[in-house]
């Protein structure tokens, strides 16, 4: 297995979430749900799994009468994602070099 390759992140549902979070300081839960096109419960399940692994942090915020849930990658999550993306690049690069 390529160094840095993270099987936990590589699961398609989680990879999409982590890739959406990677460039952001934070994103709204609603944005994740609408962009991925999944249900609240399915997304919550994945977010909880990522939270338990220490990859994401969740914060609830109240502004006026509205409440919103913000999700962000932790430093640990960022490092794992960067290592995973780098491992993918290396795998693809190596495959392209083969005759």
């Amino acid at each position: 297995m390529e160094e840095g390759f993270d099987e936990f992140i590589h699961v398609p549902a989680r990879l999409s979430i982590v890739a959406l979070l990677a460039p952001a300081e934070w994103v709204e839960f609603r944005f994740l749900r609408e962009t991925i096109g999944t249900s609240d419960s399915a997304l919550s399940k994945q977010i909880t799994a990522l939270e338990n692994a220490g990859y994401v942090a969740v914060r609830k915020e109240r502004s006026g009468t509205a409440r919103r849930t913000l999700v962000r990658l932790t430093d640990h999550g960022h490092a794992a994602f960067a290592a995973h993306a780098a491992a993918l690049e290396r795998i693809v690069g190596t495959a392209r070099q083969r005759p």
Partner: protein, 146 residues
């Protein structure tokens, strides 16, 4: 999922977040800032000792940007912004200031009344016209997929 598919997925998803974080600029924000810029720039034509009014206008501008930021569904990390994106913002600010000073000087030299108002209107117009451009240019700069 193959590594190639995974990389493609990562880039596409990152671009979706970039798009969400950068725009589009809400119309109410575009118009409110234009009106405020006009008011802040034009005050010297109508009031003596205008500094408190201008300070209040600038404070209101800051409040508007905070409200506008809060309505966004995502915020990009600072590390995502490049030198090129900073240059784009500086170019737009320079264009707005140039429009203000240019028109102000022309109006003063031509002895027109209300030179500050004319300059401020030009600055507000530059804001309205250039903001959508800045938005597109920033997205193009920060997107990962060609």
């Amino acid at each position: 999922m193959t590594p190639e598919d995974a990389l493609r997925e990562i880039r596409a998803r990152e671009d979706q977040t970039t798009d969400a974080a950068l725009g589009p600029v809400p119309r109410w924000y575009l118009v409110s800032v234009a009106v405020l810029l006009c008011a802040v720039g034009a005050v010297p034509d109508y009031v003596s000792g205008c500094l408190p009014y201008q300070a209040a206008g600038i404070a209101l501008l800051l409040v508007l940007s905070v409200i506008s930021n809060r309505s966004r569904t995502a915020r990009l990390r600072r590390s995502r912004y490049t030198n090129r994106s900073a240059l784009l913002v500086l170019s737009m600010m320079a264009a707005m200031i140039t429009a203000f000073i240019g028109l102000y000087v022309v109006a003063s030299l031509a002895d027109w009344s209300h030179p500050s108002t004319i300059g401020a209107a030009a600055m507000a117009l530059a804001w309205v016209l250039m903001t959508p451009w800045l938005n597109r240019a920033m997205k193009a700069t920060l997107r990962r997929e060609p």
